[in-house]
Subunit: 107 residues, 2 copies
DNA sequence: TATCTTAATCGTAATATTGCAATATTACAA
DNA sequence: TTGTAATATTGCAATATTACGATTAAGATA
């Protein structure tokens, strides 16, 4: 039915899935990489850099924002994003914990 | 148009996105966790453990398989999955490198 | 061989995602 | 206030994903 049955899974499983979803499109990976490379975090040229249309970029940015991974000013001309350090480290830790708990103990 | 323009992005960006896609559903996260916990890697009770229907589990398993993250015997009764250690470490390294390269140097 | 068990596949429905054109909004500058 | 430059929103089309009932396939076992 196209709907994920999230209620079947625990909080941490859903958290990993939600975070992974953000990274599950190369445009969002590229956007995060680009933003992180900018010294001054004025990211008005994302459309040129990435090569997708402005609405599409805006949509992807919104997905990243919704996950809490960006911070800064989002309104009007004084636009200034950057990575939300705290949330980013949280996600990193989440993945780290997930990978750490998977042991490959057979075959 | 519903199709990801993967050609716009480099190999590593697409690789991160592909790997993240596997983890982008809590059922697949749960399946990987469960398989990794099994000593003997006979995973016939996934349907009971996860709580999704048998065809749905089979579909999710196939997604994980397609990403190369499972190894073992997949045919008939002598079914025996486990995590493909080599590929798993590759993915882990991929994420590690991605996270490592993101620096949060503004705002 | 017939039957049972279990996983894969098929078919289909519902929903989500991706992408862009058109339009709206916002902030600033002249 | 009018114009300009930039991002956001809307609406829509194409495709992908999620889920499951029904069926099929393959191996085990009586």
């Amino acid at each position: 039915m196209g709907v994920s049955k999230t209620q079947l899974f625990n909080i941490s499983q859903n958290a990993v899935a939600r975070a992974a979803k953000v990274l599950a499109h190369p445009a969002r990976v590229a956007i995060l990489q680009y933003i992180s490379r900018q010294e001054n975090c004025i990211c008005t040229d994302l459309v040129d850099v990435i090569g997708l249309s402005q609405p599409t970029i805006s949509q992807h940015l919104n997905e990243i924002k919704k996950a809490g991974l960006l911070q800064g000013t989002f309104e009007g001309k004084n636009l200034c994003y950057c990575i939300n350090r705290e949330k980013w480290e949280e996600v990193q830790e989440l993945f780290h914990a997930f990978f750490g708990k998977i042991n490959q103990n057979c075959c």
